[in-house]
């Protein structure tokens, strides 16, 4: 692991050295749901593929809680492939030969977009907890600013899983005329009590770490690594299923033939979780974790429409494909069904698929052939309806 100081330096940087950024100056602030303004605002993003002449083939990919803009490119910190590398690329379901893909780091994030680790212009120090508490809608507002900046009027598709799926739903509700098709995956229209409860455990773990320093750890050259690692460990369990844990680890011991009668990581599952925690703190800012989990907790799309989720989609012309995974207990199929019911009630064009998988919530990031086939088929049909293939063919001719 890199030294704390180096990591602090990196996290305090406002832009990744090799990425694309859009900077919105002080006179173009992001107004948050909480009544605050974020300015200047930097949005870090990546793109894949090429925008067609009609500017009609753009797809916005929305990342999950601890994801980032590196959907299909090597992560600059971990050196690992992008989180949706399996789905995004030439000939893949999100086909970069046909579509122009955009993925931006959410506001409040820590991979280049303005967040709690960014410098607060009012103080010259990192925002820390002075950063405005942002919502899913604020994240979407920031993305809309980026899409405007890129000169794109209407998105061919907005797609994402988990917290990314919440952004997809918010996009469809806030900007129906700008979203031709939408894929909310493994997500929910509101955070349940259980979801909030797990997030609170994570936040309390971070804040209980003495190195958190009331959120001012960056200035003091330390990081609440232990607390953030514990937060990640507990969250990671919710991303898996009991079946997957059992299959992968069971009660197998780690590099030993008998229990040590100590609190070492005797079990493989313990060792695995510790590794997940350690790997996470290398790439993620603890305060960002507080802010993005909070954004999810506040998400309740129906609340903005007098408690009627159908009201959020009234009159929509967007084509929806809702996807759930049957072993996902974090955002279970019933959450997706609630979305589908609301879309039906509003007369929307909606498909709904429940994919069989024992991989739990994380299935949306993994190789699931049925999910891939669904995505490919849905996008292909939507592209045909929008005439994307034709235009591409014309442009190339």
């Amino acid at each position: 692991m890199s030294s704390a100081t180096e990591t602090v330096d990196r996290l305090a940087e406002t832009a990744p050295p090799n990425g694309k950024t859009a900077v919105f100056p002080v006179d173009r602030p992001l107004a948050t749901d909480g009544g605050r303004f974020i300015a200047p605002l930097t949005i870090a993003y990546e793109t894949y593929g090429a925008l067609d002449a009609a500017r009609s083939n753009a797809i916005l990919l929305c990342h999950a809680l601890t994801g980032d803009q590196y959907a299909a490119s090597t992560h600059p910190v971990t050196g690992k492939p992008g989180w949706w590398d399996a789905l995004v690329g030439p000939g893949k379901p999100f086909d970069t030969d046909r579509y122009f893909l955009i993925c931006s780091n959410v506001v409040g994030g820590c991979m280049g977009t303005t967040g709690p680790a960014s410098v607060n212009p009012a103080t010259g120090k990192p925002y820390g907890l002075d950063f405005p508490v942002v919502t899913i809608r604020d994240m979407v507002r920031a993305q809309a600013m980026l899409i405007d900046h890129l000169g794109i009027d209407s998105l061919f598709c907005v797609a994402g899983g988990s917290m990314g799926g919440m952004q997809v739903l918010q996009w469809a509700a806030s900007y129906p005329e700008r979203v031709f098709s939408a894929m909310p995956i493994a997500t929910a229209a509101k955070h349940s009590a259980q979801n909030i409860a797990f997030h609170e455990v994570g936040r309390q773990a971070v804040m209980a770490d003495p190195d958190w320093r009331a959120g001012r750890y960056l200035e003091q050259g330390v990081r609440p690594e232990k607390g953030l690692a514990v937060a990640r460990m507990s969250a990671h369990i919710t991303y898996l299923s009991e079946a997957a844990l059992q299959r992968k680890f069971g009660r197998k011991l780690q590099d030993r033939s008998a229990p040590t009668f100590s609190f070492d990581a005797d079990f493989q599952v313990e060792n695995y979780l510790r590794h997940q925690g350690l790997a996470f703190v290398e790439r993620f800012d603890a305060n960002s974790y507080l802010f993005v989990t909070r954004a999810c907790d506040y998400f309740d799309l129906a609340a903005d429409y007098d408690g009627s989720l159908a009201g959020a989609f009234r009159g929509t012309k967007t084509r929806f494909c809702v996807v759930a995974f049957d072993s996902d207990w974090l955002y279970p199929t019933s959450d997706s069904r609630a979305i589908v019911h609301a879309l039906n009630a509003s007369g929307a064009s909606v498909s709904f698929v429940e994919i069989e998988s024992d991989k739990g919530h994380d299935a949306f990031l993994l190789h699931e052939p049925m999910f891939f086939a669904t995505t490919r088929g849905f996008l292909r049909a939507a592209a045909q309806a929008r005439g994307i293939g034709d235009e591409t063919a014309e442009a190339r001719a």
Binding site: V350, F352, V353, E356, G377
Partner: protein
């Protein structure tokens, strides 16, 4: 979630001869909901031949996945549980092909269909067909035919009816029969002016186009 969907009930050994007849009853360019749409064969046919704006409901994951991969708008659900979520008058036609006999409450399903759509198209295997009658009469066994390929203890077809039974149900819910067709073993329609009892005896399958009754329609 079981892959043993209701709409697959008749797939084994039975070709879907009724699909072309159903398609013939649908006006071009209309909005159609196909309940129990299976692999989407009818929706595809309707999109291609009639340019309909089609939606589907299907119980089996396999069927839904096949549909979505074809670009059809289909949700996973079943006729008994999920039709209640659809708003009134959302569609021109609600189609239930070879699925009615597998629903728990056929009457409620029919009422929902005629609430959601102005018209409903229902196709079903006729339990009054002479082969069915003969098997019960002569062998004393529950009939197993090409159209009803399951044995009594593992069949999803829990509410079988005859053409006469169905007509009675239609009358009891106050719907109007706009068109009807009975198909013989080869899938050919039986001549239109044949009396009901001929249809009930010779028809292996029946297809009905129903319309919501109009209160203003005087005698």
């Amino acid at each position: 979630m079981t892959a043993n969907g209701a709409s697959n009930a008749l797939r084994v050994g039975a070709e879907r001869r009724d699909l072309a007849v159903i398609a013939g009853m649908v006006a071009p360019g209309s909005r159609v909901l196909d309940v129990g749409c299976g692999d989407g064969a009818l929706l595809e046919l309707l999109a291609r031949e009639k340019r309909v704006d089609g939606r589907g409901v299907e119980l089996s994951q396999q069927g839904v996945n096949q549909c979505v991969a074809k670009g059809l708008s289909v949700i996973q659900g079943d006729a008994d549980a999920d039709l209640a979520d659809y708003p009134d008058d959302g569609f021109d036609y609600v189609i239930l092909s070879q699925t009615l006999q597998a629903t728990r409450r056929p009457r409620e399903v029919m009422l929902h269909m005629l609430r959601i759509g102005r018209r409903a198209i229902v196709s079903f295997p006729n339990f009054g067909h002479w082969r069915v009658r003969a098997e019960l009469l002569l062998l004393g066994r529950m009939p197993v035919t090409s159209n009803l390929a399951h044995r009594w203890h593992d069949t999803p077809n829990i509410h079988l009816c005859t053409i006469r039974d169905f007509v009675e149900l239609v009358e009891s819910i106050g719907a109007r029969i706009e068109r009807a067709a009975a198909l013989d073993r080869s899938g050919a329609p039986i001549r239109v002016n044949a009396p009901w009892w001929v249809w009930n005896l010779m028809g292996e399958q029946a297809v009905f186009l129903l319309e919501r009754s109009r209160p203003d329609r005087g005698g």
